[in-house]
Amino acid sequence: MSQWLEQVIDRASEVQDWLGPIRQKSLAELREQRWPNRRVEAWKYTSLTPLEQLQLSGSDKATQVPYDQIAGLESLDLVFVNGQLQTDLKQCSLPAGLRIRNLSEADDESGADLFADIKPKRHLFGLVNDVLAQQGLIIEVADGASIARPVRLVQLCTLGGESHTRILVRLGEKSRLTVIEQGEGQDPSLSTAFAEYELGRQAYLEHYRLSLHQAKAVQLGGSHFRLLEKSQLNSHLVAYGSDLSRLDVDIEHAESHAFAKFNAIYLLASGETFDLHSTIEHRVPHGTTEENARGIVGDRAKAVFNGRIHIHRDAQKTLAELNNRNLLLSRRGQINTKPELEIYADDVQCAHGATVAEIEESALYYLQSRGIPRSQALVMLNFGFIQELVNQMPNRVLGEWLQVRLKDRFRQMEVK
């Protein structure tokens, strides 16, 4: 056990609210946890040293920090700074069928099952979040409600700040919602940001997780989805890396005929690490999953991708595909990828593929032969590799806003 974890356990015993019994259970589990080292499979390539060395001064919680509004998106922005909700929910005019409460203010039990049941058990930092997250939101969409306005959650971390938030989202039957989870920070800070989603029957969720932490901002978080019958998830993740950035995305087909699409883009520079673990659980027949992750790694950065598909015994007629493609730009960078299949049903169609490569010479030559300088051709081709996934984002306003940021990001990266 590390000192850091001991401190977490000490602090957790002071937390007292309506989630008490759940927190107690997680706390007991946390006490049993061993601090992961490289021999623990889930942390094989990612070191927790940056977290252990992190100096958190405890910043001024009330700071107003400016953040980018996205023109034309017309989103409902809910802003957290260092784990404290800054937006006054009472001032928000919510569309009919949408209910949003602060986790700390909820006094009924309707959020408790979301809080406790969706996140996979195995998760060390999920447990940390269980015991420390006092702020967060419970977002509920009524049956049949179609919410056009995207809900955007912006979580900012400042120097020395620490943020533990939990977002719980429940989509009623045949409802529709768009959620954008955005996290940012550069200075030494820590955030554990977890979100749990339950998609009711025939519900549709459009989901974006923009994990734009950089430099010294440590982030350990995840988004977890439970899909009920015929629900549809369309999820897109964009990540930079930081000293330590780890996300776990879990999708559970809990009822049949659900459809999940999950795309991920990671663009890493300098000495950053980004570690994405995705797990798709097909528990029931007739589920479909399409997963595509693409990453570009420059400088001394390190990418870790672990994409697991688990087809349970009863999940006949599952269609599941996972594809992970990587470009390594630098001799000092590294890519570690592991697409995993665990299959216990025979009448399924499952495939995965993973590649690590460089830009094809023939494509480069083709562009150069049209008069484009090599360096520019490289940028174009590299960006094209990512662009394909950006283009698949249904929200074009957001897609274009991201594209500008990704291009900026790309210019900072070392392209040989």
Binding site: R331, N336, K338, E340, A354, E358
Partner: protein, 478 residues
């Protein structure tokens, strides 16, 4: 339809008989004294004993690995006997005529006649029975070409310089738990040395047989192909049908010097246990080869036996332009569990590797591919291609794929693909409509699925592998 396939898969284990041979077997248990006694039995020089004891020392400090997708009760290393040899072998027979006829009959029954005149011309055999090598055929003929092919226990005496120079260089004593155990207690195995520029005039092969109860088999094979030489080596294994599990922990080391080529083929048919998972061999094997410049190592394996298979024949592609290949068919049924694959470690420039893995799971078995492809910082221009296909037969089995890819070189290219399929009703129907019975149809479809691997086997073995798969798929349909 799937019932038909299940039936077609019900199989007999044909090598399950026990030979009635009087053996000298150590009492169960492992300590330093046992290692000293093994060394004494083999009349080993002091350096060999010291090597073993160092391995034992590291083994004591290690923990049995648990990362594989395998479930089995903890092995009690104190309930295993670490040495067993036919009594008749005590005074080394000088020729085949002096070998106990019961031993020869055993191999004959397994389809491996040891009388040279009866053998397939072109295959030399080292027959290892429990802890000792019984006989090595065609030695004179090989010696004419300068090729050394003998039991490793003999090589320790006759070629100590070669053994000292290479033993443990590819798989170090403390490489992993099972390799360390093997290094401490290995009893026999084969030693091969192919001199510079020599193309070995015949296929070399070792046939391993476990006979005695409660014994473990710990053989060690070392093959050194000197510059520009070529060798093709085959390995086969069987064991009697017994209710207890038996441990087999082997180590194989291959050294391919500049421009050398080693082709290593295995048909593994250890007793797999019965339908309910009773008995069967626990097969924990470390196989690794090192390739120097322009060298080429090719592993081909057909794994149909063992209750537990834990095996990852690997290549360290150290030299520039070296090539590593891994072709594997693993068939599991009943309650068998296999966790097998390969490691391709690309260190040199323009190194290339190919991995073709075909896993077939039936019954209540679990079959996992586990592989590592590593592109080192200096592996400029390196290439890997991996194809992992799984075939599931029935809905009670599992097929798993765990490929690790680690790249540290921007000009290296790794491609991995995995698919899963089943024997479809349509395929069975087409075959049956053309007059084939379900059994034949399944065996044909499975053989087709494995074709890319079978074509890599040497001719003599390809026939055996095909037959083995057919026996494995033989049943009571029609």
């Amino acid at each position: 339809m799937s019932e038909q396939i299940e039936q077609a898969l019900a199989r007999k284990y044909e090598a399950g008989f026990v030979s009635n041979i009087e053996s000298e077997t150590f009492a169960v248990g492992l300590d330093e004294e046992v290692i000293r006694r093994i060394s004494t039995m083999k009349n080993e020089p002091e350096w060999m004993l010291q090597w073993r004891l160092k391995a034992y020392e590291s083994w004591l400090k290690m923990e049995e690995p648990e990362w594989a997708h395998l479930h089995y009760p903890k092995i009690d290393y104190q309930s295993i006997s670490y040495y067993s040899a036919p009594k008749s072998m005590k005074d080394k027979p000088k020729s085949l005529d002096e070998v106990d006829p019961e031993l020869l009959r055993t191999y004959e029954k397994l389809g491996i006649p040891l009388h040279e005149q009866q053998m397939l011309a072109g295959v030399a055999v080292d027959a290892v029975f429990d802890s000792v090598s019984v006989v090595t055929t065609f030695r004179e003929k090989l010696e004419e070409a300068g090729v050394i092919f003998c039991p490793i226990s003999e090589a320790v005496h006759k070629y100590p310089e070669l053994v000292k120079k290479y033993l443990g260089t590819v798989v170090p004593r403390s490489d992993n738990y099972f390799a360390a155990l093997n290094s401490a207690v290995f009893t026999d195995g084969s030693f091969v040395y192919i001199p510079k520029g020599v193309r070995c005039p015949m296929e070399l092969s070792t046939y391993f047989r476990i006979n005695e109860q409660n014994t473990g088999q710990f053989e060690r094979t070392l093959i050194v192909a000197d510059e520009g030489s070529h060798v093709s080596y085959l390995e086969g294994c069987t064991a009697p049908q017994r209710d207890e599990n038996q441990l087999h922990a082997a180590v194989v080391e291959l050294v391919a010097m500049d421009n050398a080529k080693i082709k290593y083929s295995t048909v593994q048919n250890w007793y797999p246990g019965d339908e309910e998972g009773k008995g069967g061999i626990y097969n924990f094997v470390t196989k690794r080869g090192i390739c120097h410049n322009n060298a080429h190592i090719s592993w081909t394996q057909v794994e149909t036996g063992s209750a537990i298979t834990w095996k990852y024949p690997s290549c360290v592609l150290k030299g520039d332009n070296s090539v590593g290949e891994f072709y594997s068919v693993a068939l599991t049924r009943g309650r068998q569990q296999a966790d097998t694959g390969t490691k391709m470690i690309h260190l040199g420039k323009n190194t290339k590797s190919t991995i073709i893995s075909k896993g077939i799971s039936a019954g209540r078995s679990n079959n996992a591919y586990r592989g590592l492809v590593q592109m080192g910082p200096n592996s400029d221009g390196a290439r890997n291609f991996t194809q992992c296909d799984s075939l599931l037969i029935g809905d009670q089995c599992g097929a798993h794929t765990f490929p690790y890819i680690e790249s540290r070189n921007p000009s290296a290219i790794v491609e991995h693909e995995a698919t899963t399929s089943k024997v479809s009703d349509e395929q069975l129907f087409l075959c049956q409509q053309r007059g084939l019975d379900a059994e034949k149809a399944v065996s044909m479809i499975v053989n087709g699925f494995c074709k890319e691997v079978f074509k890599e086997l040497p001719m003599e073995f390809a026939v055996e592998a095909g037959k083995l798969l057919e026996i494995s798929l033989e049943g009571s349909v029609g």
